[in-house]
């Protein structure tokens, strides 16, 4: 595999921006949607529902990245830019590895983004978190 088979910094950041936009739209809906619907039907929403919605909204980004990397290796941003996350040996990510990768990225976003710079000189275009979790981001072959 040559370097161009791996996604570079621009592509990965662009895909991340797409995912950020998607989450920006979905998270508020998750946080406020159920209480608002409850309130529209029966009046004031109960506290547990509000709390549950808040927790759900907080976990949503982790689940979004984690489950999609585990399932297909592609988030929506990856789908648009044709990138897919795999283990270094080319296998799919397991659930634990993908959820951990997602959680670390979201909990330590600064380190995550700073670690992306490593992509510029790594022969497999791996970021810091890719080295940590032994993953690569591949360009998906074009369908004919």
């Amino acid at each position: 595999m040559s370097t161009s088979d791996y996604a570079g910094l621009v592509t990965r950041m662009a895909a991340l921006v797409v995912d950020a936009i998607v989450l920006t739209l979905i998270v508020p809906v998750m946080a406020d949607g159920p209480p608002s619907m409850w309130a529209a039907v029966t009046g004031e929403a109960p506290g547990w529902l509000k709390s549950l919605s808040q927790v759900g909204a907080a976990l949503l980004p982790v689940l979004y990245f984690g489950l999609l990397w585990w399932g297909t290796g592609q988030t929506l941003g990856g789908l648009v830019f044709g990138t897919v996350v795999r283990r270094k040996d080319g296998e799919h990510l397991g659930p634990v590895r993908s959820l951990l990768r997602s959680a670390v990225g979201l909990l330590l976003p600064i380190i995550w983004l700073a670690g992306m710079v490593v992509v510029l000189w790594d022969p497999h275009r791996r970021a810091l978190h890719d080295r940590l979790f032994d993953t690569v981001v591949l360009r998906k072959a074009r369908r004919v």
């Binding site: 910094l9 662009a14 648009v80 275009r125 074009r142």
Partner: protein, 210 residues
């Protein structure tokens, strides 16, 4: 065929052609007509010869004819046979004349028609088109559009829209086209981002090597 055809033969050919077109008779021409034409031709030839040898030679000719007649009568076939020969010759001659006349008439008609059409194309039609175009554009077409448009709007357009919207082929075409546009846009986006990746890395390498 530059030589001008005799008028009589031309008329005969034209008559035969018209008869064929009107299905009055089939090809080849009827035998009776051929015989009639042959007899007429022979009569004409005889008349010409007779006129030519008029005058002093008439008497000599009469005497010679009388002598020859006696001789011929002595050795010639019987009258029915002579008549048959005469008719056969007349039929053959008539058939030939009719065939030639028919060909000449056909050529004449074709040439005349071609000339007429060329003449009309050269003189009449351009003038007619020039004269009629402004009238058609200024008067006829607006009236036609004014008259037809409400009908088209109320009757034709809804039917066409209905047909187009329910036609499976059109739907497939639109879906394929939309899919193709999205696919192309995505591919372009991916290629651009890949190029940007490469450029950025090249710049980075150059910067740090320097």
């Amino acid at each position: 065929m530059n030589e001008r055809a005799p008028l009589g033969r031309l008329a005969l050919g034209a008559t035969v052609l018209a008869g064929e077109r009107l299905k009055l008779f089939d090809k080849p021409v009827p035998e009776t007509l051929a015989v009639l034409v042959g007899v007429a031709e022979r009569g004409r030839d005889t008349a010409r010869r007779a006129l030519r040898s008029a005058g002093d030679t008439a008497k000599k000719a009469t005497d010679s004819a009388k002598k020859a007649g006696d001789t011929v009568r002595k050795f010639s076939p019987s009258p029915p046979k002579r008549v048959r020969e005469f008719l056969d010759e007349a039929r053959s001659r008539g058939t030939k004349t009719i065939r030639i006349g028919r060909l000449e008439a056909k050529g004449f008609v074709t040439r005349t028609m071609d000339d007429s059409i060329r003449w009309a194309e050269r003189t009449i039609i351009p003038r007619m088109v020039d004269d009629m175009t402004p009238h058609i554009i200024n008067n006829v077409v607006p009236k036609l559009i004014d008259g037809v448009m409400p009908q088209i709007r109320s009757h034709v357009v809804p039917v066409i829209i209905e047909d187009l919207s329910t036609d499976e082929r059109i739907r497939t075409l639109i879906a394929e086209q939309s899919h193709s546009i999205v696919t192309e846009a995505t591919e372009e986006l991916r290629e651009n981002s890949a190029r940007a990746d490469d450029r950025l890395e090249d710049s980075f390498r150059k910067l740090f090597k320097a």
